[in-house]
Symmetry: C2
Subunit: 314 residues, 2 copies
DNA sequence: AAAAACATGACAACTACTGGCATGATTAAA
DNA sequence: TTTAATCATGCCAGTAGTTGTCATGTTTTT
């Protein structure tokens, strides 16, 4: 077997152990101890952060976390990784900020000058525009870890009614519109609630929980279920069609007629009404709501509120 | 010099050329032709997609695009790359979809079993929740390329008033809320307009343009300028404060008083009024607008429209 | 037919690697 | 204090791998 291949095998072997002796490696690969010492010297020269403890019970320890075998990326693949990293730029806090930085550096430094320029250029021609968030989310990584470890949590949480304490089991963590959210099972209320991670003031990890909860994906799909189905029937002008087509939750529901106008006639959840009412408020004449009456009532009530707040006096 | 190092040098040398002969490599590195043939066999065995053309004017050609030297990633760095890729999952179209897939595959296949499980697990505990977009953006990559190449474009565009033809110079491309946008200088109107890339029906590349236009970053910051400054003064209840704090464009403007209520008193651009009016419509009693009168007028007008559309008849 | 290129084999000279042995240093346990 | 376990390093001879040269083929273009 070639030396390069053997070195690689040893690299992978040792980066899985936190401590090992030269004898162990010699036995594992049927080579002499002398050669193992020489190999370790080579790996060390190649930049592997390995150090030795002298004396009885001594041995070698690799400092970095596990390494992958060397990977040959094409330039285009490297660019795509930078591209992906760029999409994360606007998150104020990320669970892997330090790793992203070190991976970026490794990649960037092995690019040739021309490719570096290409990456720089790309970053000035493409962007992921999102509102810059000022809100800090210091506990993000901690909370994610707890979720992965399947542990329960006691948290201090800043809710509508002030600071409260909760005993919960996190389901997972997700980002939406620049903010991080955590659905979690609340043991007091015996149901899953949604928390904003930036509003968690402090956490105390507690016991591991063997119970099986829904996972994040299941939870997402359950939120799409229509617990209180209700018929939404709206007539749309051409402009109404245009705007609804740009609305993530409605775009699939819009039916376009030959003359360019259209309509929505679909079953949605009653809970969504509050969420979609601002859209129809904005659309005004461009959307004629036929059903449900509840939506019309919401719009009319809010319109009345507005008019009573700002009486005609000019 | 060790064989491994020499092979690497040759790998980098040949992956920059589209065609080369063994003699060229032999001269470059002062080694015999026979050795070059042997090296190329080795590289080929190692998976480099290289093929030879026989006969006079023959030579070697490397199929893949340029390669980077092998990179040693730690497991954590690999995980962070997967994490970044995951944040892109919800974009229906991306300029680097194929590269992202191949990079993912390379990384995933070199993970050890345990790490694979870790990545899989991560993906079930963390998500970037965004509306799934059904809209196709087939011309995305093409448009991005034109922007990078500094060329002008003729496009067919589907606008409010039907299909139009435009002669433009793209500034760049950006994603927002799942859709791709392209600010571009319109030669007819002599100013920068914003286009939706999915609404571009076809493009014809035209001449390169040596003129200097603003770049994407400059354009972004110019859109923040207040061309028609206007004073926004609003009193907020506790709940009003809470909701405005979650609103990307307003969160920095909210001033919180001791009792938990607050206010906004700031200069904004008149053009933003239409954008923020739905928020104040939603807030209702929780936000008392003091200034500008225009905002109150918009709200009142829309309220009246709503009431006239849905007259009280029950 | 000649020239330019890849493809492959044989072999001797050269280089690098390996294992064994020796020696030394350091540390923990007996 | 001694002993055993461990890393660190040097030397050397035997082995394994690499290189250059030469030879022979093949394919393609001029």
């Amino acid at each position: 077997m070639s030396k390069a291949k053997r070195l690689l095998d040893i690299l992978l072997f040792v980066s899985t152990k936190k401590k090992f002796t030269a004898q162990e490696v010699a036995d594992e690969f049927n080579i002499s101890i002398r050669t193992v010492h020489r190999y370790i010297l080579d790996l060390s020269d190649m930049g592997l952060p390995i150090y030795a403890e002298q004396g009885r019970n001594g041995g070698y320890t690799v400092l970095s976390s596990r390494l992958l075998p060397p990977i040959l990326f094409t330039e285009d693949e490297a660019v795509s990784i930078f591209f992906a990293f760029q999409s994360l730029h606007y998150y104020r806090d990320l669970p892997f900020n330090t790793e992203i930085k070190s991976a970026s550096q490794k990649l960037y430094s092995s690019l040739q000058e021309e490719a570096k320029r290409k990456v720089d250029k790309l970053q000035s021609y493409i962007a992921f525009w999102n509102p810059k968030r000022a809100i800090e989310t210091p506990l993000l990584k901690a909370v994610l870890e707890v979720a992965i470890e399947n542990k329960n949590l006691h948290i201090h949480y800043e809710s509508k009614s002030g600071t409260t304490t909760k005993h919960i089991h996190p389901i997972g963590v997700y980002a939406h519109d620049g903010l991080w959210y955590m659905p979690a099972f609340d043991f007091t209320k015996q149901k899953i609630l949604l928390f904003r991670v930036d509003r968690i003031i402090s956490i105390i990890k507690s016991e591991e929980n063997k119970e099986v909860f829904v996972n994040l994906k299941e939870w997402f799909s359950s939120t799409y279920e229509h617990k209180q189905p209700i018929r939404l029937h709206v007539r749309l002008s051409r402009e109404g069609v245009r705007q609804c087509k740009s609305e993530p939750n409605l775009e699939d529901l819009v039916v376009i007629k030959e003359d360019g106008t259209g309509f929505i006639d679909s079953i949605i959840d009653k809970g969504e009404l509050n969420f979609i009412s601002p859209l129809f408020y904005r659309l005004g004449m461009h959307a004629q709501i036929v059903e449900p009456k509840e939506l019309v009532d919401i719009l009319r009530q809010q319109a009345k509120d507005i008019l009573s707040m700002y009486p005609e006096n000019d």
